[in-house]
Symmetry: C2
Subunit: 420 residues, 2 copies
């Protein structure tokens, strides 16, 4: 490939809403998605919420000629839901499962059962090494009282750390997926500022899609409009991010979204809108002057880490409170058990039969077991939150060192990437 | 630092056997370990089985002047046990917790409760970027019937993938820890052949230590000689591995181990022997000719992946059998529960009181819950094993492509690193 010869890369991302027996018209929608992908022949297809392997295999068969290279990331109880289809050869794959992902007892939310993760595939695009990431973060069920904010912040931190540490040596980095965060949410700022990834929506030359790039819209057949309040117009939570390297300048030439209803079809592809980005790749000996990504200024990085650290600290307090509740449950159950034992051995003064005592004992044992399991869960979470805090503090110190060095040298154009 | 100017790096690794209230003479041994480290002033200290944060904090205080930079990796229920002390500035840290690590119900083994992981710290050594890894893999409780072999193989795979994908850009790579594998065990060969890491013991110019570099020896006060059978002389399961880069040639000048008893002390530092490696770093524009590490030939890499794949496949079969047992437990408990319900509603024909029925019902519920939890555990394991299989197949295909290319080009000196 000669220097300065431009090349294109078409990237597609969609949250498929593929919960079997729950998501509406799953089979029909996968049929439509398969048709779309076969017709459009994007270079890279990043799918989320492909919860059933059967659906993945259906798409794999359907796209066997257009996208012969695939990877389906497996983790958690029901899988990660992440799938990747490529027209170019996949050289390697790696999965990082997020350490925090909700609670197993929150059955109606269910995020815990999907092993939310970030998947990396290394794709050979005509000799260029593209590191392609696909991810799906914990959902936000209430914006006003978001109990999962610390979990999503830890996930954002782990995502950015994973991207920073595994993208070295890539000619091109692409990240797509459902981040479950608005564009200016903390985790999004954290991710962009510390990886240098740029948002295709804000960078694109031309855009054709929903207003403000929304990917959850009221005009979608499957959307529960109540979920959008107070953002009646819609929300943008699905993204394609990109970054070049010294060898390759990457630019988003066009970005489009689906717009709810699909022509000649009775319903949309999913409850999310799909994104398609057309990226231009420009080879160059040193492409930094062409706008190849660089992280924001160090002080901005410091600010966003400080903000994230506060959220993690708050999450730690909440989790410690939950752990203490679990301890109280264990102690309460133990006390009741002792009381029952005492009653069983009190001569004549029994108020109830041995069988009833046994039944009550079994209830106490269940409480004891539940308390112990919850305790284990929460102390594991505390470990993760503390580890994240430590890593954030290391990064803050490193940024502080850079900032001091920067001020001493008087350089105002200092590129403050901690790693890149 | 001028080109060709040599520099030294002293690395220390020890499994501290720090299980509070279980490991013998824990406090006294930490006192001794602290003294040794303060006196010897190694550049990098890698510790495993520092299970209690209190013990880490004790060492941190004790070494605050000799080793001002530290990181304690937190994960799992009781922690990862991994700690790192450095005389050089730590720039960043990252933790990868292994996806498979035994079973929670194997209480007498207990590995599951420690969140076994690999920790990475990036250390700035006079302008050189050293990626330092510390890890501890699942123990081998029976060599003849090693039920954890698939778990340790998956851990080895995840370790090599983590090292491969996060060490790009490093001037120098060091990995230390308790791998719980003999030198020629599958996981060890997998790790070395796919990362290009070299074993300090086989590479060192001079060696002073136990016979054959053993780190579990009969002559250690804390060793249960029964555990060594049939390797009465000892076993080598602790390692320091190293790798240079194009910029730096790394060489092991000397390696030493402790030899059980410690002069002037009544007992050894731990039930493992400690390792100390003295590495020489030689700066060069292109150090490959100086013996900087390169992975083994592609065909050898293929062979070892194929062997590992077979172990993972076998592990998958075993885990599927366990999952089926869990299903049978759930179904059995459900059947019993239905039987009890029927008995409760049968008029007059009750053989026992409602309280007894309730008690039996509670027992059934416990069985049902246990079965369901085990089912969740095993299907999570199956997901991990399948993901590992997929990644191994990708690597095999990639190696096959390289091998074909290599044969076509007729090059016999082909460097077959898949990633490096």
């Amino acid at each position: 490939m000669a220097t300065e010869r431009p090349s294109k890369l078409r990237v597609f991302s969609l949250n498929c809403w593929g919960i079997r027996f729950f998501s509406q018209l799953c089979t029909e929608r996968y049929e439509m998605i398969g048709e779309l992908l076969g017709r459009e022949q994007h270079d890279i297809v990043l799918l989320q919420e492909v919860w059933s392997e059967r659906d993945f295999l259906f798409l794999k068969r359907k796209l066997s000629s257009s996208h012969p290279h695939t990877h389906y990331f497996k983790s958690g109880v029901i899988g990660s839901g992440l799938a990747m289809f490529s027209r170019h050869r996949i050289q390697d794959a790696l999965l990082y499962q997020y350490s925090l992902n909700g609670y197993p007892y929150m059955l109606r939310h269910g995020d815990w059962f999907g092993g939310k993760a970030v998947g990396l595939v290394i794709v050979d695009i005509s000799g260029l090494k593209a590191h392609v990431y696909v991810t799906h973060l914990h959902a936000e069920y209430s914006r006003a009282k978001d109990e999962y904010l610390p979990h999503r912040t830890v996930q954002s931190w782990e995502l950015l750390q994973f991207v920073r540490h595994t993208s070295c040596g890539a000619d091109l980095v692409v990240l797509g997926g459902d981040l479950n965060m608005h564009p200016q949410d903390l985790g999004n700022r954290l991710l962009r500022s510390h990886t240098g990834l740029r948002d295709c929506y804000t960078e694109t030359d031309t855009f054709d899609g929903c207003e403000d790039g929304h990917t959850l819209i009221a005009d979608n057949h499957f959307t529960n409009n109540h979920d959008l309040v107070p953002f009646e117009k819609g929300i943008r939570i699905d993204y394609i991010l990109m970054k070049g390297s010294q060898r390759v300048t990457v630019k988003c030439e066009s970005l489009s979204t689906t717009k709810g209803p699909v022509a000649d079809k009775p319903f949309p592809y999913s409850d999310h809108e799909a994104l398609t980005a057309e990226l231009s790749l420009l080879l160059s000996e040193d492409s930094r002057q062409h706008g190849s990504s660089g992280p924001l200024a160090v002080s901005e990085q410091m600010d966003v880490v400080t903000e994230a650290h506060a959220v993690v600290k708050e999450g730690l307090c909440q989790t410690e409170a939950l752990r203490d509740k679990a301890i109280r449950l264990v102690l309460g159950a133990l006390l009741l058990l002792l009381l029952l034992l005492a009653m069983a051995f009190l001569p004549c003064s029994c108020f109830c039969s041995y069988s009833t005592l046994g039944l009550l004992g079994a209830v106490c044992m269940s409480l004891l077991l539940s308390g112990a399991l919850l305790y284990l869960l929460f102390i594991t979470h505390i470990k993760v939150l503390k580890e994240t805090e430590d890593q954030m503090m290391l990064t803050s110190n490193e940024l502080q060192t850079k900032l001091t060095g920067c001020r001493l040298s008087g350089s105002s154009s200092f590129d403050g990437s901690p790693e890149l």
